[in-house]
């Protein structure tokens, strides 16, 4: 079941054109255990990670998300903790329903692709999410206030997209947040005074937006 699911991902994202075919993926190499396939992370028989970065993956990101979501709902096949698809040529948008199935998700990275649409509010269903990196795409719409429910979030990188609207006050609840990088978007309005509660924040990068208002001394 798992192997056939991974093969569908390979076939759906122009696998023969991947820069690194790695062990496992190519048709001639599929007899080996999936735990040895390039970018596949298995723990005790469960798929927990898929890391296919800088590898010329081309096509709709939903090819991966829908297949992984289907595996996740089977039970006993996968419990995805890390999905890293950085620096490929993936298109399409992130399906909210698929994201909501990844209840073990800790790291979700799709930076530097060609993704569009809104950032799903359903990331809030991923209670363990610690790293969300979506920078360098063409996401639009507002930053979902529901991200404030991701109480384990430490890194939130949404820079270099087409995001608009205000900085959600709800993000002030992320008391484990260390890096908030939202630069190079079209965000408007003030910095919520509530952000002064972000006691662990080391990096606040809001440059090159349309933010306004006064910056209070409590920042």
């Amino acid at each position: 079941m798992l192997k056939s699911g991974l093969v569908l991902i390979y076939d759906g994202l122009k696998g023969p054109l991947w820069r690194d075919q790695g062990p496992g993926w190519a048709a001639s190499d599929r007899k080996r255990s999936v735990s040895n396939w390039l970018g596949v992370v298995m723990v005790e028989g469960l798929l927990v990670g898929l890391k296919l970065t800088h590898n010329n993956l081309k096509g709709d990101v939903d090819v991966i998300l829908a297949k992984l979501a289907a595996l996740e709902t089977l039970g006993g096949v996968s419990a995805i903790q890390e999905l890293n698809l950085a620096s490929n040529a993936l298109t399409g948008s992130l399906a909210p329903r698929a994201i909501a199935t990844f209840t073990s998700l800790m790291v979700f990275c799709t930076p530097f692709n060609l993704l569009t649409g809104e950032i799903p509010s359903t990331f809030s269903d991923c209670g363990a999410l610690a790293v969300l990196n979506l920078q360098g795409n063409s996401f639009s719409g507002r930053i979902p206030p529901s991200l404030g429910l991701c109480v384990n979030l430490r890194v939130l990188h949404l820079y270099s997209n087409n995001l608009s609207g205000p900085l959600p006050t709800e993000l002030a609840a992320l008391d484990k947040l260390i890096e908030l990088r939202l630069w190079d978007n079209h965000l408007t309005g003030p910095i919520p005074v509530e952000y002064s509660a972000l006691s662990r924040l080391k990096v606040l990068h809001l440059a090159n937006n349309e933010l306004s208002g006064e910056v209070s001394n409590s920042k």
């Binding site: 006691s199 606040l204 933010l211 306004s212 209070s216 001394n217 409590s218």
Partner: protein
Amino acid sequence: MASLEYLFLNDNKFRGVLPVTGLAAMPRIRAMYLANNDFSDMEAAAAALASALRDSTARPHSVEVNVVGTSTHLYEPSGY
């Protein structure tokens, strides 16, 4: 934001008086990029910020500040 080390607010439309006291009070700050906003009298604010940084608690590292388009180290720890 007691842990803040890097603050980038440049190239926005922030206005009013630069909150010099609050910025200088951040004990771990290493870099502040504030240029290209609508803050009032940034030349004077830069001078006030430099003074406030010198008068604030000693820090183990320098503080890079960009308020008018060029970076300046407005604070250097003693012996730096």
